[in-house]
């Protein structure tokens, strides 16, 4: 069976999540993706970003690097060495796309800008992804996704109405940009197949994140209203909240119409709730939402979150247990989709990699191999694939071309 992206090859110049995350998805569906690093200054996720396997710091023990780089080939090149640069160009010549997430301008200074790459590969699709985009007054500004989530409005929109904004875990916005970046590359590759034309895609992670905020941005433009965080409440559903259960677990519940509310009161064994004048109509429930949530919490405290979810769902009520990170590995629905796939890594041993949210009936994606160790595929890529004679490879190695 052929893979969806069989025969497609791409090269990555970049680090952390926003660039490499894209290549990972494409590699899962069969693209050959070559992750290029400097051995002198490896990917920051290898060097200073936990978790490391068994808390032992090591270039090939970094969990976050592994997470974004499975199924790829890993090579090292010294791009400041003339022969290193030449080899980079030769990799690109044989490729369909390049993904880079260096600071704007760095690729051109290295001799790998769009014009320079296109001279040797006119069909090339180049995706440049950066915090702020390639142009504009703040283009050169460096930054991480963990912070960009605040600039793009998400922090302001999470937390209690009367409390501080909250931190959103990890490089949240990078993940949005990864999906939009993958889309742009795939669309440009299709255009390339049909027309022979290349493309330069300028993706700002900030603007990608703002796509999720489109509705509140329009609300300000249309009505001048500034959207604010409002805990777990919702303008339509009520109740709509997260309730404590036994053993520190939590269950979310929401009711979207009068019938669902009535079913909820029966399923909860709280028929008095539906007769209580404070909760008789949506407007009343809205006016007494805090009291309603307190009453529901009193009841859920004695319940097991998992069983409660199943019981309410059986009565056709929106409900779900809040999964912790550990529980994502045991969730039966996640398991049924084979989201976590095990590989044996030379230094980290057996561990799991994550598949994305979509599966293709005829050409399913899969985790193909563990994340590469630093420079693991140098000989395979430069000698076997690119055709460098082994003597020449040794010679260049001696000159520091792969350092």
């Amino acid at each position: 069976m052929q893979d969806a992206l069989e025969g497609v090859t791409g090269v990555e110049f970049g680090s952390f999540a926003a660039g490499p995350g894209i290549g990972k998805y494409l590699a899962n569906f069969g693209a050959r993706v070559i992750h290029v690093e400097s051995a002198q200054r490896p990917d920051g996720l290898r060097t200073h970003y936990p978790p490391f396997k068994d808390d032992k710091v090591g270039l090939n023990r970094a969990g976050a690097f592994a997470f974004w780089n499975d199924s790829k080939y890993g090579v090292t090149l010294n791009l400041k060495h003339a022969q290193g640069l030449e080899l980079a160009h030769r990799l690109v010549e044989k490729s369909d796309f390049v993904i880079e997430n260096m600071r704007p301008g760095v690729m051109a200074r290295l001799g790998l800008g769009y014009r320079q790459l296109r001279e040797r590969n006119p069909r090339l699709v180049l995706l440049s992804t950066s915090n702020m985009g390639q142009t504009g007054p703040y283009a050169d500004h460096p930054g991480f996704g963990s912070q960009l989530s605040s600039l793009s409005g998400f922090s302001e929109l999470i937390g209690r109405a009367d409390g501080p904004p909250l931190f959103i875990y990890g490089p949240f916005i990078d993940l949005i940009a990864v999906a939009f970046g993958g889309i742009a590359v795939l669309a440009a590759l299709d255009h390339q197949r049909r027309t022979g034309e290349g493309a330069h895609i300028d993706l700002s992670q900030y603007e990608a994140g703002l796509q999720f905020v489109t509705a509140p941005l329009l609300e300000y433009a249309a009505n001048g209203k500034v959207a604010r965080r409002n805990g777990n409440r919702d303008p339509v559903a009520i109740p709509h909240g997260c309730y404590p259960c036994r053993e520190g677990c939590w269950c979310v519940i929401s009711c979207w119409d009068e019938e669902e509310w009535q079913r909820f009161c029966i399923a909860a064994g709280l028929p008095a709730l539906s007769k209580d004048p404070r909760f008789s109509e949506v407007s009343e429930r809205r006016a007494h939402e805090t009291e309603l949530n307190d009453l529901i919490s009193q009841w859920t405290r004695e319940e097991d979150a998992e069983k409660l979810m199943h019981r309410l769902q059986a009565s056709r009520i929106h409900a779900a247990a809040v999964r912790s990170m550990r529980e994502l590995f045991s969730d039966p629905q996640v398991a049924s989709r084979q989201v976590w796939q095990k590989q044996s890594h030379p230094e980290m041993g057996e561990h799991h990699y994550r598949m994305g949210s979509f599966q293709l009936a005829e050409t399913p994606g899969r985790v193909r191999k563990p994340a590469p160790c630093l420079g693991e595929h140098n000989e395979e890529i430069f000698c076997d694939w690119l055709g460098l004679a082994p003597e020449r490879y040794r010679e260049l190695e001696g000159q520091g071309v792969f350092s």
Binding site: E156, I183, R194, A215, M325
Partner: protein, 387 residues
């Protein structure tokens, strides 16, 4: 040049869980036809709305993700509606849908039937949990999806109520990943002529938002938890680091980092603090050139963060934003939608596009398409075919 997906047709029969998918394909140039039930999609009536004089007001969530589409109404509960649907599906490259699993089959419009007429058809099915599995028939809105995706367990104060983002984001995670799935299937079709069904789970799509957090469990049996305005997981000592800080007129996001960019930021911050006589001597004497985060203890972090917190209380958001941009420091203000509308960077990239919605007597300042291709921002086109 032409737009990237100009030659393709999309039939978009989705509800809110899939709105973004068709919007993205439309942004890239595909011709997207939105199928609505008789009377229009229910989300047109959701609050908040754009008022349109003597026409019915338009829900802004609907509007946000249904530009770049033309609209038709079709009643799939009737045989005539289903016949029309089937004939439209013959002429399309992509069919996007969010019906409960099994619904299309029950209507006699499952993939097997549709692909007999059109073997190249790419059917993108977007549901909360996917087409199979123990939860496939569960009811789930954004709240339930974010709970089961683990996202809520990482937001909120320590030990307190898990939080969702106040705006629905599960539909957007699902919608964006579905577009990636659709185009992956397109690559296969280009080389073989064969279409296929793409099965998207919103639960797994939203799991993207927890990034690599599950890996702490997988590698080291550490279960990351929510920590309010702090972050954990960056030190080997288990210490937490502050992310969000109150400032003069709101909040800012600042994290102490190591690495070249972090060291530069820390140096610059001390210079700035010193300009206001707010940098203690021991902080001015810090050697940042070898500074790294993983080995720091909680005590060391608290000592560093105390004077920084006092300093930030004297700074405004705008001042902070301008300074970090000017000096290449890491950090951003916690922006509101108003401040995003005022951001010079977005202005400088022509992010905004004034769009005249039919029936409106003024332009609406619309966030632009998600990227710039060969120097050209993907444009917003006003919905056509509206009554």
């Amino acid at each position: 040049m032409t737009m990237l997906l100009e030659s393709y047709r999309v039939l978009d029969a989705t509800g809110p869980l899939g709105f973004l998918t068709g919007r993205i394909l439309g942004d890239l140039g595909a011709e997207v036809t939105k199928i609505e039930p008789p009377g229009g999609d229910p989300s047109r009536k959701w609050l908040p709305q754009l008022s349109l004089g003597n026409r019915p007001a338009e829900g802004l969530f609907w509007l946000a993700f249904n530009v770049n589409k033309r609209e038709i109404q079709l009643d799939l509960e009737t045989e005539a509606g289903r016949d029309r649907f089937r004939s439209l599906a013959k002429e399309t490259d992509f069919l996007l849908e969010t019906f409960p699993p099994g619904k299309l089959d029950a209507w006699g419009l499952g993939y097997r039937v549709l692909s007999e007429d059109n073997p190249g058809l790419i059917l993108v099915s977007i549901t909360p949990f996917g087409q199979e599995g123990p939860y496939r028939d569960f009811l789930a809105s954004d709240l339930e999806i974010m709970a089961l995706a683990g996202v809520m367990s990482l937001a909120g104060d320590e030990g307190a109520e898990p939080m969702r983002v106040t705006l629905p984001s599960a539909p957007l995670w699902a919608g964006v990943e579905a577009a990636m799935g659709a185009l992956t299937a397109l690559a296969y079709r280009s080389s073989t002529g064969r279409g296929q069904q793409v099965d998207v789970s919103a639960q797994v799509a939203a799991m993207a938002a927890v990034a690599h957090a599950p890996i702490y469990w997988d590698l080291n049996r550490v279960n990351p938890e929510r920590t309010g305005i702090y972050m954990t997981g960056r030190t080997l000592t288990g210490a937490r680091m502050r992310v969000l800080w109150p400032c003069q007129d709101g909040w800012i996001n600042f994290i102490i980092y190591g690495g070249p960019a972090g060291r530069h930021t820390n140096r610059e911050l001390v210079v700035w603090m010193d300009e206001r006589d707010m940098a203690p001597d021991w902080l001015k004497q810090m050697d940042w050139s070898t500074f790294t985060v993983p080995e720091l203890t909680q005590e060391e972090i608290d000592r560093l963060e105390a004077p920084i917190g006092s300093f930030f209380a004297t700074v405004t958001k705008r001042e902070f934003y301008e300074r970090v941009m000017d000096r290449g420091m890491l950090g951003y203000p916690v922006a509101t939608v108003k401040e995003i509308h005022e951001d010079p960077q977005l202005e400088g990239r022509n992010f905004w596009q004034n769009v005249r919605i039919p029936g409106s007597d003024s332009d609406l300042r619309f966030p632009g398409g998600f990227t710039i291709v060969n120097g050209k921002r993907l444009p917003i086109r006003v919905p056509e075919g509206r009554e």
